[in-house]
């Protein structure tokens, strides 16, 4: 890390102590609710304010969002890494199990 970046961090740390300003660590606690849409208007304003002054959190948020999206879309056909099939022997096994235990208790 170059020294400029160290000074910048220190300044940002101080900035986080001012009213209505968050440190990155405090910002972290808002991230989930931000995506859930459950921040209050005031929290949302504070959250956005931090994003304006902090490129690290801005990058973090973009990567977090991208990771969530990758997960959400990963198993959608046709690219899913998990096959979506039903082996015939499993079909028959279930039918046979049902036959042999027609009155399976609760």
């Amino acid at each position: 890390m170059n020294p400029d970046r160290g000074v910048l961090r220190k300044l940002k740390g101080l900035l986080g102590k001012m009213p209505m300003m968050l440190t990155c660590q405090e910002f972290e606690d808002f991230v989930l609710d931000y995506f859930e849409g459950t921040l209050t208007a005031k929290e949302n304003a504070i959250f956005k304010m931090h994003l304006l002054v902090c490129t690290d959190c801005k990058r973090y948020l973009a990567a977090y969002k991208r990771s969530v999206e990758l997960g959400q879309n990963l198993f959608k056909e046709p690219n899913s890494p998990v096959p979506d099939d039903m082996p015939e022997d499993l079909v028959q096994a279930i039918l046979a199990a049902k036959e042999s235990e027609p009155e399976l208790g609760p």
Partner: protein, 190 residues
Amino acid sequence: MDDTENNPRDSTALEQAIREHGPAMLAVARRLLRNEEDARECVQDAYLRAFTKSDQFDGRSTFRTWLHRIVVNSALGLLRKRKRSAVQTLDGLLPEFDANGCRIEPMWQIDEPLEKVLENRLVRDTVHQSIDKLPDIYRIVLLLRDIEGYSTEEVAQLLDTNVAVVKTRLHRARAALKRLLEPLWTGGEI
């Protein structure tokens, strides 16, 4: 429900339900259990339960939604029984901050659109393996919420815990996944 054509005790109805929903249900079980044998056991158990307790199907949801939940419950039961992953911590995978509370974040670039990125087999495999690497308590919440599409409240119900716990785990799971995926956009080794 004894005199209807759709008598669930009828093996034709069962076979039809297996052929129609089985592939999707098996895929759910495979994702949750990461093991083919367990996944098959889970699906079989779920179908037997569904068709033994079909009187509990109240028609408030679709049959598929109801069956999906039974598969999830069955898988969770199997996971509890197996207790396979001993490691439950996310050491080294959570966000890092310096002494001033400032984030330590690597430089990276996310330019490509999501659809394009997902076409890349290496990316898909990496995401899949990274999800599988998460400790169960985080992995399950991420799967149920982000992939199976349950709400935070529903996940809390399924796991017999509260919403605050689910939210904390979900956030940590996502942050850890992001960390595991970093090599994809920092250009480092995967």
